[in-house]
Subunit: 664 residues, 3 copies
């Protein structure tokens, strides 16, 4: 549990540096991330490095007692490099290179850029790998930001063909796996395969899915190259990458496997504005963010981080990049920070120390205003740093507990390929996987549960309740591992609906889960936004309904071999919720209230007690401590905990307030 | 009256074929369409044909007693052909070739493709032209699907120049016809004329209209080439093409003129979702389709088919290609099929025999599910086949009657150029010709009338009521033919508003109809969606209104020479509905209720009796039989017909139900 | 005060010309604009001019006693010129040339076109420069229409680099001014700088702003070239350009500085439909236009015109180019014309004499219909011409007064760079500068004030009230000039928020206005459309609000040195409206009612009396006359003026009516 900050010495007169470092330290900051956009200053002229300024900056920070997170500067190749190797630029779906003049203007598949990256990473790692102030590393910055995972360059297509060759071996195998016979799309060699773009109507879905898998693998390969260079020159320093919130364009499990720390960049207000939430929801949580959004990401990245995950960039005030950029309510910077620690963060690092007065992000707040006065966020960070010390002092175990790989009782299975597959092959325009996964998560959180978010390939033993949002492709051993876990398992619709090649399973959905769910999805339907399908529990009176399915429903029937308990039906008679053993299958996407009601009921069967929370209140337990957060507009009275157990705050929790108490 | 199915032997193990054929026959299916996407299997390597598999497939079907509809496979040229002749790819409005990887990736004007098509069509026609099992042919598949009529390739521009030369003779004639003097757009030779695309602001409307005419003619020329090859090698077998529902991008009258059978592909639910209907209308008919939509298309294609038209592809369950894809209510597959026969269809052919588990359309239902179980649609087809036999048995004339070119008493004039012209030159953003034509049709159907849909060039004698939706360019002899028909004639706004060159007629609209309508449209106005113009009949009280015009109104005044009866006015005093002799002119697009009221009144003047139908109920008469369909949610009691006259059903018609009774 | 018309002799048979000229004269028209699109007729073949037809046309008009406004024809280069110099075509943001086939297909930076323009302008000016009938000139036509100010051609980029070199001198100065260090965007030479387009994410805002400035300067340079040629060959004839309504893509102050007459093209109905107004507002003023819209433009162009401004094109009926094109109410053509004179117009010229029956604008009304009958607009022009004579007769001073540079008591500061800057750098998606400037103007007009619209660089002495809509970059001497003016000054939010290089000022906003406003904008927030911030005046009861801010608010605090009076607060405690001396700062964009209330209050402090007008009524004073306009639906009774003072109309003013009376 420590605080950090992002700092750009190259943006400021050197005269300010010492004061900046001193004030950081005084505020309670311990680590400082630098240099991720500084290539043009490290190497102002091709091949001629200028390390002097960066040496001085690192020394100033180190001398102030701060630990440096050194970055590779590959997110922003300089103009001279682009002019020498224009093939570095990624190519858009429109067939045009995406030009220099902002950032991330590189193609993961460009051989020129791979080589140039090796060179600059080696140079930085050699220079600072063993510097005493450099304690950590970050590779690149926000892989994939601005839709840069997928490129349609000749370089990408060439590598895609290699990737296909490695995956399928023969072109006949590819033709069979994809089903190219369908529209005479058969290939005679891998060299005939192009990128699935600019086709007359939708390109082949298996082709598209493989192109997404390939592009994701290219990110992992590129990151691995950087990690290996750093490890060689800077042994023992943990390596992180700063992932993005709810970003799904590459398989984060694969990239994180090469890192020590999965970090993420937390901007709750920008995310609320830009994501799927309805306008009235956006207005309701305008200045706080959605109460489950940061949590969801904490749980995602905790699940894939070897060391405790970090928040590498924490929103400190209004940002510049959303469609509208409101100001967080006073207290929210502190609340968000505490919430990260409550979920196991090792570090919360604010972005940025001081608002820059120029360029694209000049309207992005920092801990300090451009005229170098401490802003609201800075004051809240200061308060937090003090509280952090008192928590660590009051509870000797807090640090260790926070860092430990604590296991929740509830797991939610989260998958990246699912996002791509449903995006490519939605069958209903609003079938948005991350939204549905988030809604399941949010229902669990509103019931008071702590949740682990795990890959479908992760060990599942020890959980009492496992929730699987729509997962089209299930691992071969998934049914067995779920069954063996002993948990009650909730399966969302469309799970098991596709093979790994994006075909319909021979036994129809739920495919490989048919071994535990004796049923057959013989038909599906997607529903437009002004349509829903009412659901009624078996015990409920005829003519009433207990909620509705929106977006989607599976039409299912039992297969003959085993019994299937139908617990709820759509009002036209089709089963809506069925159960077999410990497996609960939801044949539709239900409204929030119905989802919560179902989850509470199934949790009860799992031996867990749901404790539905007051509006806007969220609770997390970690180590010896319990944390309570109030996102709402009213004072929340937390009952049942003796006042002396409170380490921070009291049972009366103000709006935007935080309380922390000893769990026992 | 017979059933068919679309079948893809190349998608399935050969071991399944015999069983498939046997089950088709047992179900009551008589004809099977095959091979329209099989080029890569017919010619896997350039110039090396593989007919063995197709020979076996045709034999299997023929041996089972099924008639084959053989297709040319030109909708899906294989990759090797594209790689050899990249100029086959059509070019989009963005100037980029539209790539391989789906279907219809060819340019109608490409000389390479014309030649390759001649070659493959000749090969297929030679091979199967006289095969005893091959009873019919289909050219290509769904001409124009995925916006492929218009291409901006160099090949298209070259042929456009030739087309212009043939149309205008001299460049001066073109300059005059278009009015290129307007913005110094004058040309000095045909070689200076490009495609009307990518201009700074809107391109010249006459230029755009001619480009659309040219592109339409290219489709007709391409189809004619295929027809001639087939006729040469397969004499006596009727040739069809499967047109699309409400598709207007080429002149279907011209293409159908070369065919024997105008077939169309009927997907009522997908159409409802994708077309102009308001969200609440889409929700209302979600699982039935709009009650007039399939009818409208039946009547369109019946009107242009030499032999009885076919439904070549009938939706058998949910489809995959609409924004949302609901499941049809039980009974609808049967209802839709009966409705086709009620409108004179010779065949209803389901798409497809079995849902494919791979590629783009894997979520498109078939008569069988991918695991080869008969689906709801298959069971309804089976029921229908039995009913069909009983109808044909009960009524000796039914078959003959259905095939006969029965004439209705009401005609609606429908035109393709009107669509292009109003799209190019709308004057109001929502002036959507097919919608307005459909709304006139729907009003007539709701009044209980059978309707023939005819070209403006068709013979009009014998009709009692002729309805002309907005028809900007009227044939020179149109007024005379209308007058001579003896019918009451209803003329929509904007009719006669343009010359064939897309200029305003010298006498102002209604142009050539001025001879029968002594009036002058001196001004027009389009109205935004939240504005309408109230209409009041002459007899109605001041300050009240009888309905409104939306979208559009013509401001008209009588010309001096003859009398014009003003029957309704807009509340600001301008005439809304005028009459001269048998000609009724509507000076606006009226709301549905007002349109129905007017049509009922004018029908009465024509000696016809409107019989407004109950909600969701539609009636068709054909030959000796009357058919009643219930699209609504409630049981409908059909009065006045003795029970013994019912061949199918009874006077109590369930939702999604059908009744058929002898008309006399 | 005179009437004019736009006329295209080349569109009509020569046999019509004499009658046209005679009827124009009889109608009361005095000047006729011709030839702005006639290049292909002036020079049908490269280098071979045909003046004969134009000589005859000018003679016909001159002989009828009409004055000709001769135009350069450069808005429509002919096809042969484009085919010889394809580099004339401008290049879009998509990297594609914008093609021939409409108009304005030229790049302001193309050397080929610059040279071709010099040649044709010289030819026209030589031919007609001293013709007795040619009294005025127009350069080109509607600079920038159809988004043609900015081009991304190689020619434009080459000239941009020169422009940057001239502005910054050294590349280091550019790097500092822009802050390119931010994302390693540093340049080593001007030749490395490209256009700010097609970047991966948003291009650098300073880069974008400079590109807009450059493009604007290119328009001014191009126009200046034409002006100089005309002055050389046609001394003494005033030169105009016809600007567009609320068009902001270049700095009109700079272009107008080279002209004698700033003219504009007035299409109140098309503008209403196409601009930001809400659907219900568009419906309310559907057939009249917004009551402040034409006024706003009159005041904009009056402010930059050396001679009295003109309306070069006045909407005479429905147009063709808006999304929907309603018909103006009878009387509106007269009302709009009178309103122009009331604001000081020297001429109102109708577009066009007769509706053309062909090409893109065939649905654009004229004073005559295509069949050459006088239309409603023509009849109203005729009435107006008669009234104009009576006004000029009744009031000897009217002509002189109208032409004089009358000064209002209220000024509104209007700026073009503000539009570009906020568009590039909005921080909230709906921060639309022209809208907010218009809303301030509209509030002043609804309070009965006459308003001068001035540049931030204009002299400000003599005004009593100066209103400054959000002005991000303030001139260095702005605070001083405002203070010296003696006026009460209202400053909108975001004023002074940026330096000229688009950086945040070192002292934070209001930057250079900090000398008169002792405050600091320490944070801002933009608000989504369904959010607003309530405002309460100091005296108002707790828990109530007096209105709201929408879109935006500045969070401000006083700086220590001087006192700042807080007059209203947001309900969360932040100051909403503060005052220091004569400077009033609004920390948000307030709703219309609150804005009006504030402006009325501040006007009172300025010694002015606000006289809020009835719904739809607007008043203008000019010279010895007062003009009253009724845009509403009800008769308006204008009180307090003796009947004998009315020159036109009476105190009872019908809807769409006009009254003119002697002010004293």
């Amino acid at each position: 549990m420590r605080l950090g900050v992002c700092y750009y010495p190259e943006h400021w007169p050197e005269a300010l540096w010492e004061d900046d470092a001193r004030r950081m330290k005084a505020l309670g900051i311990e680590q400082v991330r630098i240099a991720e956009f500084a290539w043009s200053r490290m190497e102002p002229t091709p091949g001629e490095y200028d390390w002097a300024w960066l040496d001085r900056a690192v020394d100033v920070l180190g001398n102030a007692g701060l630990k440096v997170v050194m970055c590779t500067p590959t997110a922003t190749p300089p103009k001279w490099l682009i002019d020498r190797h224009p093939d570095i630029l990624p190519v858009g779906a429109d067939g045009r290179p995406r030009a220099f003049g902002s950032r991330r203007h590189y193609d993961f598949s460009s051989p020129s850029y791979y080589e140039a990256s090796q060179r600059i990473c080696t140079a930085v790692a050699e220079r600072y790998g063993k510097h005493p102030a450099v304690a950590y590393w970050q590779t690149d910055n926000e892989f994939g930001c601005h839709q840069t995972v997928v490129s349609y360059s000749p370089a990408a297509i060439a590598r895609f063909r290699e990737w296909l060759k490695a995956r399928y071996g023969t072109i006949d195998a590819l033709n069979r796996a994809w089903g190219t016979v369908f529209w005479s799309m058969e290939y005679r060699s891998f060299d005939e395969v192009d990128a699935p773009v600019a086709t007359v109507t939708e390109a082949h879905p298996s082709h598209r899915l493989d192109y997404r898998r390939f592009a994701s693998d290219e990110v992992a390969r590129y990151n691995r190259m950087q990690v290996e260079i750093i490890r060689a020159h800077s042994p023992g320093r943990p390596i992180a990458h700063n992932f993005m919130q709810l970003f799904t364009e590459f398989d984060h499990y694969k990239v994180a496997a090469d890192l020590d720390v999965a970090a993420w960049d937390s901007y709750p207000l920008g995310a609320l504005e830009e994501l799927w939430f309805a306008p009235e929801v956006k207005a309701k949580w305008l200045r706080t963010g959605h109460p489950d959004f940061a949590s969801f990401n904490h749980d995602v990245y905790r699940g894939m981080s070897k060391l405790p995950f970090w928040v590498m960039e924490q929103q400190p005030g209004p940002v510049n990049w959303a469609s509208w950029n409101p100001s967080p309510l006073p207290g929210m910077v502190r609340l968000w920070s505490w919430e990260a620690f409550a979920h196991g963060a090792g570090c919360v690092s604010y972005f940025r120390w001081r608002q820059a007065p120029f360029a694209q992000e000049q309207m992005h707040a920092g801990l300090n205003t451009p005229d170098n006065q401490l802003d609201v966020g800075g004051r809240e960070a200061e308060q937090l740093a003090a509280e952090l010390r008192s928590v660590l002092a009051a509870d000797a175990d807090a640090k260790a507990d926070a860092d430990a790989n604590v296991r929740a009782q509830v797991a939610l299975v989260y998958d990246y390929e699912a996002k791509w597959l449903f995006e490519i092959h939605p069958q209903g325009d609003d079938f948005h996987y991350p939204r549905f996964a988030f809604e399941y998560y949010s229902a669990l959180r509103a019931l008071g549960f702590d949740v682990d978010i795990v890959s479908a390939h992760a060990p599942l033993d020890g959980y009492r309740l496992i929730v699987v949002p729509p997962l089209p492709v299930v691992p071969d051993d998934f049914a067995e591992r779920l069954a063996r876990s002993g948990a009650q398992v909730v399966i969302g619709p469309r799970t098991g609906s596709k093979t790994v090649d994006l075909q319909i399973p021979a036994n129809l959905p739920p495919g490989a889960l048919g071994s535990v769910l004796p049923m057959r999805v013989w038909r599906v339907e997607s529903m437009r936004p002004n349509v829903s399908a009412p659901v009624r529990f078996n015990g409920s009176a005829q003519g009433t309904s207990d909620g509705v399915a929106r977006h989607w429903r599976d039409l299912i029937e039992p297969t003959k071999t085993r019994a299937l308990e139908v617990r709820a039906q759509f009002t036209d008679g089709h089963p809506a919720y069925v159960k077999s053993g410990a497996f609960h299958y939801l044949a539709g996407l239900f409204d929030d209230a119905l989802t919560q009601r179902l989850f509470a009921h199934i949790a009860h069967e799992a031996g867990l007690v749901a404790a539905p929370l007051a509006y806007g209140v969220r609770i997390s337990r970690r180590g010896a401590l319990t944390y309570v957060f109030n996102y709402g507009e009213k004072v929340y009275q937390h009952a049942g905990i003796a006042a002396e157990r409170y380490v921070i705050g009291s049972p009366e929790i103000e709006p935007q307030g935080v309380a922390v108490y000893r769990s026992n």
